[in-house]
Amino acid sequence: MKSFARHIVLLAAVSLTLGACSSVPLDEEKGAPIDNRSATSTGTSNSAPVAEPAARSAVAPVQATSSTVTGLPSALSDPSSPVFRKVVYFDFDSFEIREEFRGLIQAHASFLQANKQLKVALQGHTDERGTREYNLALGQKRAESVRKALVTLGVSDTQLEAVSFGEEKPMNQANDEAAYAQNRRAELVYQQ
């Protein structure tokens, strides 16, 4: 163990600069008798009493608000409409749009070209395996695949935004392959 005296001198010097939450060294040998402390005498403390001192560790709480979209065309919520389905699923470690989803993409491309006032967010998602930020980047690749497919079919890029939720919003919370397959997806989320 190194020189305690050096530690004490060092720490004393540090502690003297600490302000309201300061620690001060007391007399090494005697210490201040505990009974001497009273409201008007704070012993050897060098901290002047402060009215209503704030807690050093206080954190101001903030509530984030999220708005919901309303007033979208009814075709988007009509089960018989070709644009009712809005989810494209992907294979493991893949960003290719499977053949079975070409019709869905084509329907939304036509709908967006007929409704140029509408915007759609292409939200990419992954399963939970791996780390969050890297999954966010992988989800972005799925969203990008859908965006590129829509642009290829003639949709204006100004109507589209590809974003990723990574693994944060699983469709199925289970931890098996069936759930993972449902979570590897891109969703078309209309925003008006």
């Binding site: 939450c21 210490g31 009273s38 409201a39 402060v50 050093r56 206080a58 890297y134």
Partner: protein, 429 residues
């Protein structure tokens, strides 16, 4: 109430017993400790129950005891007594095998603050190592305990303690995501942000006053800088596409972030006050999870440019990137130790995601985690510990492990799932 302290009126022992009875809750809360892999023949240390004013809402000595015990470096012995910072040490303590004893008292001042006095006693040499006091706001009694533990730790080991630091983490509570600020041991959580949408990747500013993080509250990932004391927030990266993976430059003036302006995630620099991004990496693959070296000259990041995600290093001025990790098909989430010598990252080994700590000079890896579901490593400011998210009992939990992998402990889990830990800097002095 006369202006004399209760301690004076009733005497130490009576008062302290009353306090102990009242503190049964917090004492139990302190005992959720799970230190594993501790070596034998550790320095025997004891923390006496401090003689305390019963208006103190928290037992300071139990915080000191918990911190020192969690370090894994001491053999914590229960003294079974109440002992103030003054007066003689009962002889029977030495016969319990105690070498070092912390004693103290907590008394209330007229302005409502508390005067915490404490002494570290060397029972072998029969002398006081130091005797000091701290005056704190009632809400900072825990912090006083952590400060005492830091000073004891430094006196006994010669190394800086980290018990006064804070951590940030995200807890999932039913349908809400809550960004919490807590003491290093995950106790005393305070809500910084509550949202119906996910929050990930909190990162402390170098001075500990702000957090950068990714919030999905606007239905896409946006990087915010959040002043913790007043709750003010700035969206420093809210560009078209996804904005994520914030990392503070050591000067606190700018951040590296991952943006998708050209489609694929790439690394950019933005001012901590917002503004136009400046591109740092340019590849046809994913570049994300930047982190600055402590001197600010290099940025480590994750890229899949060679087919699988690996850690790379590039000058913070840009230029050619150098690959750092080999030998695993998956290496992500790099963090650099404060001295720049160690790299903590997530590596996949035989299908398991583990925390590795790499000595950068030699390239030697130490695996410090064991369950295989690990994420988000983060160094303590003294570089001796790494905190990470894991799964325990089917829930997300926080683990702190020594960088040599010898001591590992689960932190408190009071409310829901805990994930995305970020270890804050040492408090400003």
């Amino acid at each position: 109430m006369p202006r004399r302290s209760l301690i004076t009126q009733f005497g130490h022992a009576t008062l302290a017993i009353a306090c102990l009875a009242g503190f049964s809750g917090p004492l139990q809360a302190q005992q959720r400790v799970d230190v594993s892999g501790v070596a034998q023949s550790l320095l025997p240390v004891s923390v006496a129950n401090f003689a305390a004013d019963q208006r103190a809402r928290l037992d300071v000595s139990s915080v000191v005891h918990s911190d020192l015990g969690r370090s894994g470096l001491f053999n914590m012995i229960d003294s079974g007594i109440v002992l103030a910072d003054t007066g003689p040490i009962p002889a029977e303590l030495r016969s319990k095998g105690i070498d070092m004893l912390v004693s103290g008292s907590v008394s209330r001042l007229a302005d409502g603050r508390f005067d915490v006095r404490y002494r570290l006693n060397d029972l072998v040499k029969q002398r006081a190592v130091f005797q000091r006091s701290i005056v704190v706001h009632p809400d900072d009694l825990r912090m006083a305990g952590h400060r005492i533990a830091d000073e004891v730790f430094e006196a006994l080991t010669g190394e800086q303690g980290i018990f006064s630091t804070r951590i940030a983490y995200v807890s999932k509570q039913a349908t809400r995501y809550v960004l919490q600020i807590a003491d290093w041991d995950a106790e005393n959580p305070q809500l910084a942000l509550s949202s119906a949408e996910p929050i990930i990747s909190p990162r402390w500013s170098p001075d500990g006053s702000k957090l950068a993080y990714v919030s999905f509250e606007s239905k896409k990932p946006v990087v915010y800088v959040h002043n913790l004391a007043n709750g003010e927030r700035i969206a420093v990266a809210n560009f078209r596409g996804s904005n994520s993976a914030p990392a503070w430059a050591p000067d606190g003036q700018q951040l590296a972030v991952s943006l998708t302006l050209d489609g694929m995630s790439q690394i950019y620099l933005v001012s901590a006050r917002g503004g136009s991004p400046r591109r740092l990496t340019a590849s046809n693959s994913i570049d994300t999870e930047p982190v600055f070296s402590p001197d600010g000259r290099a940025v480590y990041f994750t890229s899949d440019r060679a087919g699988s995600p690996q850690i790379y290093q590039v000058s913070s001025q840009g230029g050619e990137a150098r690959r750092v990790t080999f030998g695993s098909p998956y290496s992500t989430s790099a963090r650099v130790s404060p001295d720049g010598k160690l790299l903590a990252y997530i590596t996949r080994r035989e299908g398991r995601y583990l925390v590795a700590v790499r000595e950068l000079v030699t390239g030697n890896d130490t695996l410090v985690s064991e369950t295989g579901r690990e994420e988000a490593p983060s160094f303590s400011p003294n570089g001796k510990w790494v905190m990470y998210a894991s799964r325990r009992g089917g829930r997300d939990a926080l683990i702190a492990a020594s960088v040599d992998g010898k001591v590992r402990q689960q932190l408190a889990s009071l409310s829901g799932e805990m994930r995305e830990p970020a270890w804050g800097p040492l408090p400003l002095k």
